[in-house]
Amino acid sequence: MACTAILICGIGLALITFHLRELTFKGEMIMKTGKEYIESLRNRNIKVYVKGQLLNSEEVIDHPFIRGHVNSAAMTFELAHDPATEDLVSAISHLTGKKINRFTHIHQSREDLIKKVKMLRMISQKTGTCYQRCVGFDAINALYSTTFEMDMKLGTSYHERMKKYIEYMQDNDIMVAGAMTDPKGDRSLRPGQQADPDMFVHVVERNDQGIVVRGAKAHMTGMVNSHEMLIMPTMGMIAEDKDYAVSCAIPVDAPGVLHIFGRQTNDDRKCEGEIDQGNAQFGIVGGECLTVLENVFVPWEKVFMCGETDFAGMLVERFASYHRQNYGGCKGGVSDIVIGAAAVMADYSGYAKAAHIKDKINEMIHLAETLYACSIACSAEGKQTASGSYFVDPLLANVGKHNVTRLIYDIDRIAQDIGGGLTATLPSESDLKNPDIGKYVEKYFKGVASVPTEDRMRMARLLENMTGGTALIESMHGAGSPQAQKVMYSKLSNLDHKKRCAMAIAGIKPKGDEKAQ
């Protein structure tokens, strides 16, 4: 008879404990645990600056500003081993047949696309914030199909290189940051027209060994706790932009690379206690940074586009659509936490039974499920690419992300309404623990008698940190500003067809070219 052992998912995170014999995989076990991922980051020789200080490379992941983001990313590894969640967080590699972490997978079906969205919602429910690994996931999927089509048309050999790189990523279960956004300088000018040519990453040298790139990438999610980054152009390119049409993989600690970590709302609270942070374990958003590339050498086997300007636009659109697909999943899950937090605040404060509160919570549920529905829809309408991989429906993916730039603000607005003014004005954890005044904080911030004041403070702080500042701006600009989505869906939706339908219903016969009507 099988003996049972308790499989406790590691890194001290509160996961389900379920009596199971150690998992027996048919294939080789190549997926890292959360703990293994964290340990692997210590081997890097990475240069990260926080508030003007260069951190000791081995200790980067222990810095209070960074630790939470590392824990959050670690969940993407750990949950692939949890029996309750492995179905979503793992997949079978089409390249090797091995069981791999889904974040390194190339979508092989519509079901894969749907599982991605479900996985993101589920992980968000456990972290309450961004876990960063989707960007690299979307980058490999965008590059997989683009390099295939590029090779077909131009006779290049990028796709085989890409496949080798993906296999390496899968076998070593590495975390790859998706590096698309350039600083861009003057937005009215093309890359080559900028006063400073480094405003867009570009190739400064080509030789028989590889290329040398220069520039920077801005807002880099999870970069400081990744192993490598995938550089992609930030927009479509024209023939004059040849040097800017570049895609390649670079280790985050390659010579010439340095990272300047971004500030976040309330980040100094991370150097104090736990309560005021709201989400002390996992942090807020993805721990973004500016990544500077000072003449970085990249060997040819890690170059996936170099001068093919005609394909920069395709790569950007594919990446953007995959990335916009995510938002109803991850933000759906984050909204689940916000809705839960608002409902708990109502319980703690004694107004949970009020009709308007119930109505507002229902409205939040409606908004969150609307976000989720769009992500599921663009996945269900996905199609196979020439490379064999699956791509989302770009129209619905863009509409979905555009919803996020609005509806998250509505969800958070309602949550702040329900949360009450104390979410903005609470004293600190130190005040609560102060021997002289703690009793007043305890007394005057109490809601219903049975709930400890500390619990009410914790929930209010969670709401404060999830519904404002950095967290909100991510919904606006992450995966592109609203106008970028509007441009895409106006291009993809067939307005002439709608006009023809209306004319037919109205009994108007089209006269030749109805566009002229």
Partner: protein, 101 residues
């Protein structure tokens, strides 16, 4: 000999039921049963638990008896949430009986 039930969960992204909790309840109701991972080679029955009616858990290959739970349904018949553990247990017993035949 204990009957070994291999369990496969969906991943629980928006669940009506929490699969691992259902298993804990089943363990209390059927102490003679042993619940292991679906990847266990020696299982007698495969129990698939999807947290909601989307019923999206991946179906592993298995030649023996399979029981499908999705949300509060067992084998596509809907029950109340309170009835669910006993209904799953009843279905397990039926499959066990078939195995013994």
């Amino acid at each position: 000999m204990k009957t070994i039930i291999g369990v496969k969960f969906c991943g629980h992204c928006n669940p009506l039921i929490e699969g691992p909790e259902v298993i804990e309840n089943l363990k209390k109701l059927g102490p003679d049963l042993e619940f292991l991972s679906w990847e266990e080679q020696q299982k007698d029955i495969l129990l698939i638990i999807s947290g909601c009616t989307a019923d999206c858990a991946t179906r592993p290959q298995f030649k023996g008896p399979v029981i499908n739970v999705s949300g509060s349904s067992v084998e596509r018949i809907q029950y109340s949430l309170s009835e669910l553990p006993s209904q799953i247990l009843r279905t397990i017993r039926e499959k066990e009986a078939v195995c013994l035949d």
